[in-house]
Amino acid sequence: MVARYFSKVSFMAAMTSLVLLVGIFLVLTIYALDSISTFGLGFLTSTDWKVGADDEGGVFGGLVPIVGTLLTTLIAMIIATPIAMGIAVFLTEVAPPYMVKPVSIAVELLAAIPSIIYGMWGLFYLAPILQAIFGGSGIGVLTAGIVLSIMIIPFMAAITRDSMNTTPNILKESAYAMGATKFEVIRDVVVPYAKIGIIGSIILAFGRAIGETMAVAFLIGSVFSFPKGLTEPTTSIPVVLANNFAEATDLELSSMFYLALLLFMISFVVIFVAKWYFLRGVHHAK
């Protein structure tokens, strides 16, 4: 009796993931319906974001935040990927044994620091420096991208290291026994062996970066126009939601749900690809 009840409950609990995922998709779609039926797919290519005179109606298009999201994420990935790979290689192959543990813990703790802290640091410390170097206001795509990269580096490094660590020692030893240098062992054995996992880790970090709100919110400028240069402000989907969602009504609110739905679908696809294709059986419980 209890046994049956226990297993039923555990089944229902497992189903909550499915229910939530479908629920999120449905709820976002329903609330976005107004905007979807008004603007259709043209929403994706339109740059207008104008509220109607009486706060009703108006014209809304998602291209600016979509581009802003992709641009900041791209900058972040370009900076973060080589550094994170370097850290992962350092931790798995280069560091002397007594350094591996403390550096690993440092990396993991840094991955645990709330993203709002990265954002605040960027606003008050990095932005003035970048302003001095590149001009502009210090607030813009580049600053947002750099802070975003700093935020995802520990995450990316940790999961890439996990993938590289799956290379069996005996395989590396056989390459050394052939007279390979450390770099040759990394290039010819570790990277090819862990390739799938490494790619998966990069995609997963991309998924994390694209949905990140707080590291970017302080720094991107939250302006509804295309950036004319890397130091110019623009906005991204999460930032539009964070800063404008609470005040929006009617068609504008519905358009925000449309944006949220887009973001959710992009990240769903990205993460599903990473998990399903590249990271089968690898668990990153962080």
């Binding site: 395989l171 030893e173 056989s174 052939m178 007279g179 390979a180 054995v189 090819p192």
Partner: protein, 261 residues
Amino acid sequence: METILEIKNFNFTYAGALEPSLKHIDLPIHTNKVTALIGPSGCGKSTLLRAMNRIHDIYPGHTYEGQILLWDQEAQKHNNILYLEKEDDMIALRQKVGMIFQKPTPFPMSIFDNVAYGLRLSGVKNHSELRDRVEVALRGAALWEEVRDRLKENGMGLSGGQQQRLCIARAVALKPSILLFDEPTSALDPKSTRAIEELIEELKQEISIVIVTHNMQQAVRISDYTGFMYLGDLVEYDTTENVFNLPKNELTKDYVMGRFG
């Protein structure tokens, strides 16, 4: 010269360990013979083997004492490999002293590239030379007939026994003067084991061989000399025939008669 390698009064201590794992080892490795190292788990036989190509050095902090003298054909003398420090000397040593591991370790690349790997590292670029030497190595490892039509396929797709022969071909391609086998058949079925053993007997025409094995019948079948190790000591060393039939030491006697292990 009669011995390709001379180990003299050799001690080895793992990083951070207080006691040496190998104590006062004296062991000759005869040229073009098979020398087997036997003994219970943890006796130090693999540790000794891994000192002969200094593969220990890829993990820092271990200490060597004594001498491991490797015959240098060009200079016509023995050199102590424990003096090597520079990385290029280490690389040269490992190309001269090849190693085969407990499990087959094909690299994540094609069969051809696996065998060509060491050659490419050592600077062979000419494709026809590579092809020839890969073929010779694969023939030498008795694998050529089985893989000649699928050299482009991934080495991991071969059976366990084939993979191990691929690893032997990979090592043989470099024309080493010694090959170290670290329990090469422990992960293989009896048929593949037999093939590897035949191969070892074939190889000793050209190459001196040291093999660590758990399997005493294997030592009897293929080796000319046998060393019995126990708790970091080389207890007895003699011709295989003498070690198994007329052991001088009580411990050796108990071990080869299967009383412990």
